[in-house]
């Protein structure tokens, strides 16, 4: 439905986007995930038409939309700080797009109540923007971007300005609402947990390039590059020189990820065990978080279940069992 082809963009000699290719299917939620400055927001703004690309093409249903000005694209966009119009009440904010499209008054009213119900803010029509809480503002902004039945919904860090607890609560609602409205969505965030919760597929971006595109489970279980693995918080990225045997089984990869889900405490006679000394042990309820030094410069961190182990303390020697299915070769 939406297709980005080799989008390139520079600001003052700085290459912000270095050839972005991405496809978003009808009804799909695709998330652009990456650290700040990776170009994800610029990519979104190019799709919206608020920014121009130096080269490349954006197609919607097979037709290029590069020459169509922003206000004729019929998209919806939700900003990080919501960008609600402070001089209009909730109703006028939400119906703004409908008014621009010269929708009849009756149709505006009907749609207003529809979307307010969808986001759970019935009765908020006449509220001033200044009176709303953070979560309410977020819902109004969402309702506003949905109201005109956009061909594509874009969300730029829509939960970024909310506190962590609220964010957790709203992220599930957000997916439900977008799916209920049957929208195709492009979602930008730097928070992997948010991306996991909301996306059908995630495109991880780094320095103006897409590193990997995958569904959330596939991304979690099989990060493809060192950047993606580290960005998702996996620390067991090791040089293959420490594990020539394992490297051999993975067609000689230079860098390996020992996925923490594939590391367990084992015994001397298990296959693929390494002996090591616990250098860090943190009890966190259902599990421990232990770091084991196997050789100088070769440590792994994983999370053994606490009910299986009474005592894991620093200095203790243990056997670490490696599950070969969770040894992943990394590129780059």
């Amino acid at each position: 439905m939406l297709l980005l082809q080799n989008i390139v963009r520079s600001f003052d000699d700085k290459r912000v986007l270095r050839g972005i290719d991405l496809e978003v299917g009808t009804g799909e939620i695709v998330c652009l995930l990456g650290p700040s400055g990776c170009g994800k927001t610029t990519a979104l703004r190019i799709v919206a038409g608020l920014e121009t690309a130096d080269s490349g093409n954006v197609l919607l249903d097979g037709t290029s939309i590069m020459a169509i000005p922003v206000h004729e694209r019929e998209f919806g966009l939700m900003f990080q700080e919501f960008a609600l119009f402070p001089h209009m009440d909730v109703a006028r904010n939400i119906t703004f797009g409908l008014r621009m499209a010269h929708t009849t008054h009756a149709a505006q009213e009907m749609r207003l109540h529809e979307v307010l119900e969808l986001v759970g803010l019935q009765g908020f029509e006449r509220r001033d923007i200044a009176q709303l809480s953070g979560g309410e503002k977020q819902r109004v902004a969402l309702a506003r971007s949905l109201a005109s039945h956009p061909r594509l919904l874009m969300l730029d860090e829509p939960l970024g300005s909310l506190d962590a607890a609220l964010r957790e609560r709203l992220v599930g609602d957000l997916r439900t609402i977008i799916k209920k409205a049957g929208l195709t969505a492009l979602y930008v965030t730097h928070d992997q947990r948010e991306a996991f919760a909301i996306a059908d597929r995630i495109a991880v971006m780094n320095a103006g390039k897409i590193e990997q595109i995958a569904t959330p489970p596939a991304l979690y279980h099989h990060p493809g590059t060192e950047f993606v693995a580290r960005f998702l918080g996996f620390s067991n990225v090791i040089d293959a020189a420490h594990e020539p045997v394992l490297s051999e089984t993975k067609s000689g990869a230079k860098t390996l990820l020992l996925h923490p889900d594939g590391l367990h405490i084992g015994g001397e006679h298990d296959t693929h065990v390494r002996s090591g000394v616990i250098t860090e042990s943190i009890f966190s309820g259902d599990s421990y978080r232990v770091t084991v030094e196997i050789a100088p410069g070769y440590s792994v961190t994983f999370n053994p279940r606490s009910r299986d182990h009474d005592d894991l303390s620093i200095g203790q020697s243990i056997w670490v069992k490696i599950d070969l299915d969770y040894v992943l070769p990394l590129n780059g």
Partner: protein, 560 residues
């Protein structure tokens, strides 16, 4: 099709943006260049006789010396009075505080001729105070003889600048962290040590900024000195006027103007440097004010507030009172009636009431012009991320740093001959007023333009608003307050403008301040009564404008 439309729009925008620059080039820089030419090379060859006379003549040295002397003295006195008041406003909470604070800015919008007339009505030879004293003690002569003295000039200057200093210092003070003082106290500092080591050093950027601003205002004081100082006192401004208008020595006037411009330029430079360190936002202030406690604090606060009320309102009340009681007939509105007639043998060519019509027409034209140009300028400065905006900002403020007399003088030497002969144009005065008023519009609108997040415009665009719709539906409502404040400011500035108008107004189309000035210079109760009546009308007009401004201005001082 699409691309062609966009380039046309862009061309239009470019042309619009150039308008204020063209305006400045024609009506500000061109007259300025003329002043340079006339002072340095009046006949086409370099001739520095004007400057050599400036340096060698005792008279000009004295004029220059007096200008600096009275400005320094006015500044010191203003600060001496404003500092305790700033303390009261920063640290104490009392009923009517915000009302009093906003009323204290009233002098800022009052025309100099009105202030001069008001102080004459209060403490002049036949002023209210003298009348009261004569009545009370059955005296023969007026006990207070301030007319034509330095004293009355200083008092008028304090009246004018008190609130400027109060706002700058008080606003900054309210933002200072009170824990700084508490820490010093815990470490053993007592009363005077707190002032010497903590408060004054912490306040010094604001005090310096206020001092320089007050110095600038009093250094270029024209109307007050001309009307209240009589013939004994002349500042540079007054001397430029004398040379150009009474002695017709244009070269000398131009030389003096050049000195004035140079001096102002340096002062403005210092001021903008300092302002960066002392721009305090009253809204950001943490609430540290509390009601005064104990007899000492209550007396102190009471005394300061009483002083403020007397300083700021007795002259205005005296003006209204005297406009109704001049002469021997007791209470009368005769002088207001006289305004519509052209008294035979009067110095005026038309009934004074006509001047009101002139002033209003001029003020409306100036307001429209300065709003249009100021709006464009605010957008150029507020939306351009380029280095050009940084460089342009001070350029657009330059007319503020140039005294009105210099502007007027520049106009008469530059714009009364080809290639640009506007001597007889009715637009000449509105153009001059626009130069003075435009910076106020820019300063009122610019913060609003800057505060509009680009995402607001982006959101509107994505939802289908065309560029013009974005401006009309998003920008315009959000800058409306600033725009109204700027427009009212422009209107008031134009209504009260005196220095430049005195140079360029034609005798048959005078403005209100000029009529007041001429009437004040004439003997007789009828002339004086009319002058006071006119001043009262002008004061009321500016008072109404002031109420409008305060109504629309969000808290704080704006960007001044």
């Amino acid at each position: 099709m699409q691309t062609k439309f966009f380039t046309l729009t862009q061309l239009g925008i470019l042309a619009l943006r150039a308008l204020p620059l063209i305006f400045l080039a024609l009506f500000f820089f061109y007259p300025l260049v003329s002043i340079f030419t006339v002072s340095l090379a009046p006949d086409g060859v370099i001739n520095l006789s004007g400057f050599s006379r400036l340096v060698t003549s005792d008279y000009y040295r004295q004029t220059f010396g007096f200008t600096i002397f009275q400005a320094l003295l006015s500044t010191a006195l203003t600060l001496a009075f404003a500092l305790p008041a700033a303390f009261v406003f920063a640290r104490f909470q009392f009923p009517g505080k915000s009302l009093l604070l906003s009323l204290s800015t009233l002098p800022f919008v009052l025309p100099t001729v009105v202030v001069a007339a008001a102080f004459g009505a209060l403490i002049g030879e036949n002023g209210v105070v003298n009348q009261l004293l004569i009545g009370l003690f059955r005296l023969e002569d007026a006990p207070i003889q301030l007319e034509g003295t330095l004293g009355i000039i200083l008092i008028a200057h304090i009246f004018y600048n008190f609130s400027v200093a109060l706002r700058i210092i008080g606003g900054f003070w309210a933002t200072l962290d009170p824990r700084m003082e508490e820490a010093a106290r815990v470490l053993g500092a007592r009363g005077w040590q707190l002032w010497l080591y903590i408060r004054l050093p912490a306040l010094s950027p604001a005090i310096f900024a206020a001092a320089i601003l007050v110095f600038i205002f009093t250094f270029t004081s024209f109307g007050v000195v001309l009307i209240l100082g009589g013939i004994r006192f002349a500042t540079l401004e007054v001397e430029i006027y004398n040379q150009a208008r009474n002695i017709f020595n244009l070269q000398m006037a131009a030389a003096l103007s050049l000195v004035q411009i140079g001096f102002m330029f340096i002062l403005m430079l210092v001021y903008t440097r300092l302002q960066r360190g002392s721009s305090a936002d009253l809204r950001a202030a943490r609430q540290i004010a509390r009601p005064p406690r104990g007899a000492r604090e209550k007396t102190f606060v009471g005394a300061i507030l009483t002083f403020m009320l007397i300083l700021q309102f007795t002259p205005l009340v005296a003006l209204i009172w005297r406009s109704l009681t001049v002469g021997n007939e007791g209470f009368t509105t005769r002088f207001y009636g006289l305004l519509s007639t052209n008294v035979r043998g009067s110095v005026l060519f038309a009934p004074p009431l006509e001047a009101i019509g002139n002033s209003i027409a001029i003020a409306i034209t100036s307001t429209l012009l300065s709003v249009l140009l100021g709006l464009i300028t605010a957008y150029t400065l507020g939306r351009a991320e380029s280095r050009a905006a940084k460089w342009l900002d001070p350029v657009f403020m330059l007319p503020l740093a140039t005294s009105a007399v210099t502007l007027g003088f520049g106009f008469i030497i530059a714009l009364d001959e080809p290639p640009l002969n506007l001597r007889t144009s009715i637009l000449l005065i509105p153009i001059a007023h626009t130069l003075v008023a435009m910076p106020f519009v820019v300063r009122s609108v610019l913060p609003a333009v800057r505060s509009i997040s680009p995402n607001l415009r982006g959101a509107a665009q994505v939802m289908g608003a065309s560029p013009f719709q974005v401006w009309r539906l998003i920008d315009l409502p959000l800058i409306a307050r600033g725009l109204i404040v700027g427009a009212v400011f422009a209107f008031t500035v134009s209504m009260g403008e005196f220095g430049a108008s005195l140079f360029i107004a034609r005798p048959d189309t005078p403005t209100i301040p000029i009529v007041i000035f001429r009437l004040l210079g004439q003997p007789g109760a009828a002339n004086y009564g009319q002058a006071l009546a006119m001043s009262t009308i002008l004061m009321l007009v500016c008072g109404c404008a002031f109420i409008l401004i305060e109504r629309f201005r969000s808290l704080g001082m704006g960007e001044f």
